[in-house]
Symmetry: C5
Subunit: 83 residues, 5 copies
């Protein structure tokens, strides 16, 4: 799993039906931005654990859900310089 920081929510009105209305966040993984499905309710600035691969699907709610990056937990204590 990756250690990422939440930047802000992402809005995409025109989307495939399979994404449903789940919440998506822009997250920063080092110098790269990515989009993660957020079932835990993270806030901008939170350090989070993101899971990828096929595990991102069940983590987002079902094994059919089309996610390749899902927030699975908010880290209790993390300092920016560690990442």
């Amino acid at each position: 799993m990756k250690i990422c920081r939440v930047e802000k929510p992402l809005v995409a009105t025109n989307r495939i039906p399979g994404l449903e209305h789940k919440y998506m966040q822009v997250v920063r993984d080092g110098s790269t931005l990515a989009v993660a499905v957020d079932p835990v309710g993270a806030k901008p600035g939170d350090w989070v654990i993101c899971v990828g691969s096929s595990a991102a699907r069940e983590a987002a709610g079902s094994k059919e859900y089309p996610s390749d990056l899902t927030i699975v937990g908010i880290i209790d204590h993390w300092e920016e310089e560690q990442a």
Copy 2:
């Protein structure tokens, strides 16, 4: 998921039957070009969300479809310098 920008359609007449006639787009992910299946009808210049891994398959229509990158949504507002 990755944040990519659509460059242009891609034509590949000689292809495996499993690809069917689905629309494919050349997308830019930072400095890298990739090819994504496009079920949402994106246009060149659009900023899109692309899903990879096994999730790209169901996002393209079925769990047997041979895609590893599929456009799942068009981002409503995105500035180039953010990516």
Copy 3:
């Protein structure tokens, strides 16, 4: 999917039975060489679309086939400087 250029066929006599006798090509992905299963009959110099992840398996013929990179199409028109 990645945009790669076919370099040459690859011969590996000592191989696991699961690979069967399918044709394998050395392909160039930017500055990196990789090996792809080739069900479309590409020639050295061809620009091709390669699919990875679990999709590479069905693209190579069956969902049990042990490929993680399979050529799924030959691009009709592509200029080297685009890649």
Copy 4:
């Protein structure tokens, strides 16, 4: 599989239920930090083998478990300069 070094345990109280209470470790893969599920009881400083992809799930206990990186073994002898 990757060769990583264990840094320290990671605490994330707010997490998805699917993660259960399994132990998670921060591991270093070269210059990158990642989070791995630890079913073997590694200690900080141990050199470990980490498996990714869908194999990380069964390695963590079941094919539904949402892990994309799991420690599968502690290496008997490894020198830091080798990694």
Copy 5:
């Protein structure tokens, strides 16, 4: 699939049961070291084809086996400067 060179066997006595007693090799992929399950009996110095993703599992013997990198063949002729 990746083109790697075998470095040496890897010993990890404390391992999850799912790894069984299969042989593991340290392989070099460019400047990176990784660990691959070896069902073909490669020797140090051999240039080999390594498969990743979910295909690494069946290549290692069964679809439950927790490998994300498995040697699937020994390349007949390969010059170091090609990689």
